[in-house]
């Protein structure tokens, strides 16, 4: 996008691109005396008066696994996906974020070329002072690119440019540097976040995830239809947005040619965009059903290297940690937070189950004078929109499966593979006593 002066010489810059050298160089560069308000330390102990960040995200590149094949037209046996340059077991070049909160500096730098899809899930309480630190680790596969990164909290009302992450009106983070962002969200609901630097490329390459705001009402008991809830989508005052379990579903897509182009130092014409893959939380069906990476109690667990822990038996999903499997018990209410960060409008469907749409774009669909929450079986929403959907699960005596899927049937396919794929997951309703209470979104803990 914008050609800006590099703060480093080209020679230094090329050295920077080496993952082995990065940590060493970083410690040298960051120790330079600084003129203004003091250095932003990359280590976990920032200098006063900055508070310790509530979350520390690192931006870098990486590889993920997408099944099937997208041939390069006009060739024989050559594929955009799987990319022949991908590491063993992986297929698709990505940009993305990692949650490096609490990591040592060495662990954090080791995450270069280990981004995840979709981006780490985080949430904030209404009116909480929240600090996010963003560090730019650089792009291992593209030493010619000196792209900055930002975090744009999409939908944050009355945002100040300094914390909006749109690089024309604000600040951006060069490679090897960090910036803190501050949020005090006043409006509960579902949002999204993404890098806004060279946004068409960085968003499509995978720097996309969900953030949501819990309402102040949480923790207070309200009884609705005979059941008492302490967790709510909004400050409803009557428990009508109460839920037992919550799940986030972020829709994105992958145009295999564009991802291959980025790995192979080529440029696509973005107006030729097409979706070869349709991803839910960074995976395509049936991988959407695989469990979370890491664990059900700590979705951000990492090993001694700072690497994510793959789901059991699925090493190729190491960098796609977030499951979309929705499980609940007989008669429970579940909240689904839908985010569309693909490049198309989608219609999500839950055959056999009614959806009650209680919020759109982080706004409760009820005003002082009118309740316009509504029930539907298909919810259509465009890019950059969110929806909060409550589903009343039926009463069951044996486990019963339902689907949440895109009604645009073109989106239910993985290229080169017979059978279903893409934007689909299952809603499994179990008899009472099967599951333990849920404390973390997108987890399905057992007693």
């Amino acid at each position: 996008m914008l050609i800006r002066r590099s703060k480093l010489t080209r020679r230094e810059f090329l050295k920077w691109s080496s993952g082995l050298m990065a940590g060493v160089l970083a410690s040298r560069v960051f120790r330079r005396p600084l003129a203004k308000s003091g250095e932003i330390a990359l280590a976990a102990s920032p200098s006063a008066p900055s508070a310790v960040p509530d979350i520390h995200l690192a931006a870098t590149d990486g590889w993920i696994y997408l099944p099937g094949q997208v041939p390069i037209p006009g060739t024989s046996g050559q594929y955009y996906n799987p990319d022949p340059w991908a590491p063993d077991g992986l297929t698709t070049y990505m940009f993305g974020f990692r949650n490096v909160t609490g990591m040592t500096t060495q662990q954090m730098f080791s995450q270069k070329m280990h981004s995840q899809a979709s981006a780490p899930l985080w949430w904030v309480n209404e009116l909480q002072d929240y600090r996010l630190r963003l560090s730019n680790l650089g792009l291992q596969m593209r030493p010619d690119l000196i792209d900055e990164h930002t975090v744009h909290w999409h939908g944050f009302r009355n945002a100040w440019p300094v914390f909006d992450g749109e690089p024309h009106s604000s600040l951006a983070v060069p490679i090897g540097r960090s910036l803190d962002l501050f949020y005090k969200p006043r409006d509960p609901g579902s949002y999204m976040y993404h890098c806004h630097f060279e946004e068409t490329e960085h968003v499509h390459m995978g720097m996309t995830g969900m953030v949501f705001v819990r309402p102040a009402q949480d923790g207070n008991p309200y009884t609705h239809n005979g059941r008492t809830f302490t967790k709510f989508a909004y400050n409803d005052g009557d428990g009508s947005t109460g839920y037992d379990r919550e799940f986030t579903i972020t829709l994105t897509d992958v145009w295999a040619e564009a991802h291959w182009d980025d790995a192979h130092v080529q440029l696509p014409d973005w107006t030729s965009f097409r979706a070869d893959y349709n991803l839910m939380n960074g995976r395509v069906y049936p991988d959407t059903l695989a469990p979370n990476g890491n664990s059900e109690t700590n979705p951000w667990a990492y090993d001694a290297n700072g690497y994510l822990i793959p789901p059991p038996g699925r090493p190729e999903l190491q960098w796609q940690p977030l499951s979309s499997l929705i499980e609940g018990e007989s008669g429970e209410r579940i909240l689904i937070r839908l985010v569309n960060l693909s490049f198309f409008t989608h219609t999500m469907s839950t055959p056999g189950l009614k959806m009650r749409v209680v919020g759109k774009d982080a706004t409760f669909l009820r005003s002082a004078t009118a309740d316009f929450t509504f029930e539907t079986s298909h919810y259509i929403f465009g890019t950059g929109e969110t929806a909060d959907i409550i589903i009343q699960l039926p009463t069951v005596s044996t486990t019963t499966k339902y689907l949440l899927h895109n009604r645009d049937l073109r989106r239910l396919k993985n290229p080169g593979i017979n059978g279903l794929g893409g934007h689909m997951t299952e809603i499994r309703v179990h008899p009472t006593g099967t599951l333990a209470p849920q404390t973390i979104p997108n987890t399905n803990p057992r007693p």
């Binding site: 330079r32 706004t363 890019t383």
Partner: protein, 432 residues
Amino acid sequence: MRLTNHLNQLRRVLVLGIALVMMFIPMGGALTAPDDHAGPAPSVGLVCETDPNATFTLSALPGYISMADGNTIFMWSYGVGRDDFQFPGPVLCVNEGQTVTIVLHNDLPVPTSMVFPGQVGVMANGVPSAAQFDGSGKLTSLAQTVAPGGSITYSFVASRPGTFLYQSGTNPGIQVQMGLHGALVVRPALGANFAYNDPETEFDPEDEYLMMLGEIDPLLHQAIERGETFDMRNYKARYFLINGRTFPDTLAPNYASWLPTQPYGSLAHIYPYDPVTNPLPALSRYIGVGTEIYPFHPHAFNSDIIGRDGFPVKGPGGENLWEEKFSIPIGPVQTTDALWSWRDTENWSDTNPVPIDIPSDQNLTFGLFWGGTPYLGNTDTLPTGTTTFNQCGEFYHIAHNHALQQITGWGVVLIGQVTFTRIDPPLPNNCP
């Protein structure tokens, strides 16, 4: 990716600079509309073509417009009078209840017509406007046509307030995409500073914006210019426009001299909400004139969706059912009226600083609109060689289509449906 065309970067920087400087040329100076009956035009905001009797003479004309990548596109559009080609067609503003009369001259090489989606009782040369069929029953036009060189008169009563559009009704797949469309604003009886006959729809008349979202397939236009046929099965939009311009031309003032056929900018320019000095919201009138739903996302504020297709969003008891949206889907031929404002909820200033440390300059890069500090109304020195167009510590927020392939244009990034909102510090301020 940084491998983009340096010339394009240069153009972008130049246009941004000129645009921001031109915004502050006093009204009534150089920035007058080319049509003497239009009077001085505001540098930003909706520009109305008005007439006391709601009678307008338009011509369907060929002409050319410029894309921000340097390309020139052959268009068909509507001009005011007989020879002022402009794209899109003029914004016709009338009052509720008026009889609107439009005399259309056809200076195209093909028959054409006009239709007025959302209007009823439209007359064409004194008879009801109606779909036309040939002797075999085949549909030939959605309305009575006017032959090349001829003229036709349409009239209708503007029976309800709202945002509407007019467009070609003949071979519309080609003709509308070629540019034959424009906006129609009907002011309510309650007053011109209301969107509808509802006191809650009052807006600040200085903050009324047109957001006409469209697209261009350059190969369609090339084929028509060459007199060739175009198979709509091959249609593929490559450029995405706001009010007929691509970014950064969208930021240039209305009637910018270097965009002689693209008179309408889309930069919004507001002050923060204040219950005393600035209590009224801005009104954006969105119109989709392309082939897809554009999900439009203005940063930093939600929009109250108060009307669609000229219908106020109300329940059966007259209660407002306004959704508050941060991404607004704008469908083809759909109009959406949105009220919005920006509030300074944090009151940060250099004496009430943001609760983080801003890293030193060499640890950051700065946007073209960054003023040097986080604070509204403050500026600070930027490192030598840093370009900034910030004038007085004003804020900027981008507003863009979030189908991000549509903020690019035919292989060049960031020349699509993108504009900005400029928020000036409250008055009195140091802004020029």
